[in-house]
């Protein structure tokens, strides 16, 4: 093992020790040295393994052996890339569709949550990834969708489907309301204002007792229903079938997620998407190229908000319950984490990150209090090892690994 790796090992282990020993070893009852050392030992073990692997891979002997294998490897890789993307997509879709058939109810429920966050992540990606406007209050639009459906359904008995367009419009209007005063802001200031806006929406929902029943929340909304024709006696009748089971709800959100992926994908490659990227790159230059920046920035907010609103309406109807505490600042952070971790501007990355970030804390419930530690550590490690995200968008990858004179294919 080269000396640099030994040095790394010692420094990292000590750092971990300082971090973990007091955190794990000091529960409410007293200092438990064995438990703390155990957790630390696991980390040190993983670290040693990783560094050992790295130095073996870097050694001359391994390099020459790998050199002999290279043609085989490239051939194998070629065979993988030869299969068109569409086939992978079909396989993935099939796997997602088959998932509820093999999973138990709890797992289906987790799956639904994952897909809701996938929709949210993709919606936020329009604002953050494409237009480059950092939005820390995104969850407010999710709340707008949820409350729009809840109130309209409870007071006027409107169905889920008729509430969807209303929710989308209201979400987009709210997006413009937050967008308009922040048009001239950038970066940190924009983040602070959007964060404030998110909190305002939550506080209004929390305190407007007459309309929203405050922290008690709203209860008893109908589940989404679909109509199908029934050919009984006396002609055709439309019968509505309420999507009460978790399975049917799963398929509904899967449909919404697939439509979102298609929608955001098309935006990504459209003229509008290109203009958004230009605004992110250099606003003045975009303006001088004839890009209507004001209107396109508002459009980015409105589009992002519309997707969140759809997710919110679904969320409220699925639970038949909603309360302001679902829409705390932490939720905005998680959605932003999904976008950043998945890879800004990358649709497959965000889908994967949405599933991973929501599923991992659920699956690791057995670890009890350590699960958040694991979660945080996983994120920190990700940011160090793959700052461009799980599946980086081609454009963003260029940004982080830019070298002079390098050329890229289109």
């Amino acid at each position: 093992m080269p000396s640099s790796n030994v040095k790394k090992f010692i420094v990292y282990s000590l750092f971990m020790g300082i971090l973990i020993l007091p955190m794990v070893g000091l529960p409410s009852t007293g200092f438990e040295i064995t438990r703390a050392l155990l957790v630390w030992g696991v980390f040190v073990g993983i670290l040693a393994f990783w560094l050992l692997g790295k130095s073996i891979r870097g050694s001359d002997a391994f390099q020459s052996a790998a050199g002999g294998l290279a043609p085989f490897r490239s051939r194998l890789f070629d065979n993988f890339t030869k299969v068109p993307t569409k086939i992978y997509l079909c396989l993935l879709l099939f796997a997602l569709a088959a998932y509820p058939q093999v999973a138990n109810n709890y797992m289906v429920d987790v799956g639904i949550t994952c897909l809701i966050y996938v929709v949210l992540g993709l919606g936020l990606d329009i604002v953050v990834g494409l237009a480059g406007l950092l939005d820390l209050g995104y969850i407010a639009f999710y709340a707008v969708g949820a409350y729009t459906y809840s109130l309209l359904n409870l007071h006027f008995g409107l169905s889920f489907w008729s509430c969807l367009p209303i929710g989308i419009v209201l979400g987009a209007v709210c997006g413009c309301i937050i967008g308009y005063p922040t048009l001239r802001m950038r970066g940190d200031y924009l983040a602070i204002v959007t964060m404030g806006f998110g909190e305002i929406i939550r506080l209004v929902l929390n305190n407007w007792d007459k309309l929203t029943k405050g922290p008690n929340g709203l209860l008893g909304m109908a589940k989404p229903a679909i109509g199908y024709p029934s050919f009984a006696e006396g002609g055709v009748k439309w019968v509505s079938y309420s999507l009460k089971s978790l399975h049917s709800l799963y398929y509904l959100i899967l449909l919404i997620a697939v439509l979102t992926v298609i929608g955001v994908g098309r935006l990504n490659n459209s003229r509008i998407g290109r203009a958004w990227i230009a605004i992110r790159e250099d606003e003045v230059a975009a303006e001088l190229s004839g890009v209507p920046t004001t209107w396109l920035k508002l459009l980015a907010y409105a589009m992002g908000a519309a997707f969140a609103s759809v997710a919110g309406a679904f969320f409220a109807s699925k639970l038949s319950y909603t309360n302001p505490n679902f829409f705390i600042f932490m939720e905005s952070c998680i959605v932003l984490c999904i976008v950043v971790l998945g890879g800004v501007g990358s649709i497959p990355g965000i889908v994967l990150a949405g599933i991973v970030l929501i599923a991992v804390p659920e699956v690791s419930r057995e670890l009890q209090n350590y699960r958040m530690l694991v979660f945080g550590l996983a994120m920190a490690v990700m940011m160090v090892l793959r700052p461009e995200g799980l599946i980086p968008a081609t454009r963003h990858k260029r940004e982080l690994h830019e070298t002079e004179g390098e050329t890229y294919g289109e």
């Binding site: 003045v284 303006e287 001088l288 890229y408």
Partner: protein, 240 residues
């Protein structure tokens, strides 16, 4: 003034940045097909003049006329749609877009793909080096190439009036010469050019009309060849 209507006319234009009075009544008229240049020291308001014409900065008072039409209340994209184009100061290209994507952004408002492709060919004939770099990211181009790209992008909207903000900024003398030769070539194709420059000698030598700007006002207007001989200009801007 010539009997023909000037393509661009500024009448007593005032612009403010907050409380700072940046333009204090700028007036000028640029005939169609001309090359005009605006010279002056740092902070005189040259770039502000261009940004005000384009509508990025709003004129608080005064009139801006493009082909006799008032444009001072229009937004930048509306001005661009009328056939005005501008290169930003300091070679602001889109650094993480390829050369090709940068040029395509220049044609953002145009729908006619065939004509856009023709103009792309024209830009490549003006700047052959860009054609070799089509797939390279804008940010990785050299300074001169970035300036060429900025001019090329501005030409992609097929403008009738081209506003150039300091095309020689930070370039080696040889490259500056090349850029100015190309500007002459662009002018020959019928594009009116309004040039803002600190490199007064170079700018005046290719221009017909010259304007000298000091602290938000145009203090001197004359034929460019006469300005080159003017004692005051020689002393202040030509370093003679």
């Amino acid at each position: 003034m010539a009997s023909e209507q000037p393509i661009l006319k500024l009448e007593d234009v005032h612009t403010y940045y907050g409380n700072i009075h940046a333009l204090k009544g700028v007036s000028c008229a640029i005939p169609s097909g001309d090359i005009a240049c605006l010279i002056g020291a740092n902070g005189a308001g040259k770039s502000t003049t261009l940004l005000t014409i384009f509508g990025v900065q709003r004129a608080a008072e005064g009139k801006i006329l493009y082909k006799g039409r008032e444009i001072h209340h229009l937004r930048p994209e509306q001005v661009a749609a009328l056939g005005v184009s501008q290169t930003p100061e300091g070679r602001q290209i889109f650094p993480r877009m390829t050369t090709l994507e940068n040029l395509e952004m220049g044609a953002f408002l145009r729908g006619d793909k065939v004509a856009v492709a023709e103009d792309m060919e024209w830009v490549f004939s003006l700047f052959p080096v860009l054609q070799e770099r089509t797939r390279q990211l804008g940010g990785t181009l050299s300074g001169g190439e970035q300036q060429m790209l900025a001019i090329g992008r501005a030409l992609m909207s097929r403008p009738e009036l081209l506003l150039l903000d300091e095309p020689s900024l930070g370039l080696a003398p040889k490259l500056v010469e090349k850029i100015f030769e190309t500007i002459l070539e662009i002018s020959k194709s019928g594009v009116t050019i309004f040039l803002v420059e600190q490199n007064a000698h170079m700018a005046l030598s290719i221009s017909n009309t010259g304007y000298v700007m000091e602290t938000g006002r145009i203090v001197l207007t004359d034929k460019a060849s006469d300005l080159l001989q003017n004692e005051k200009v020689k002393k202040a801007y030509l370093g003679e």
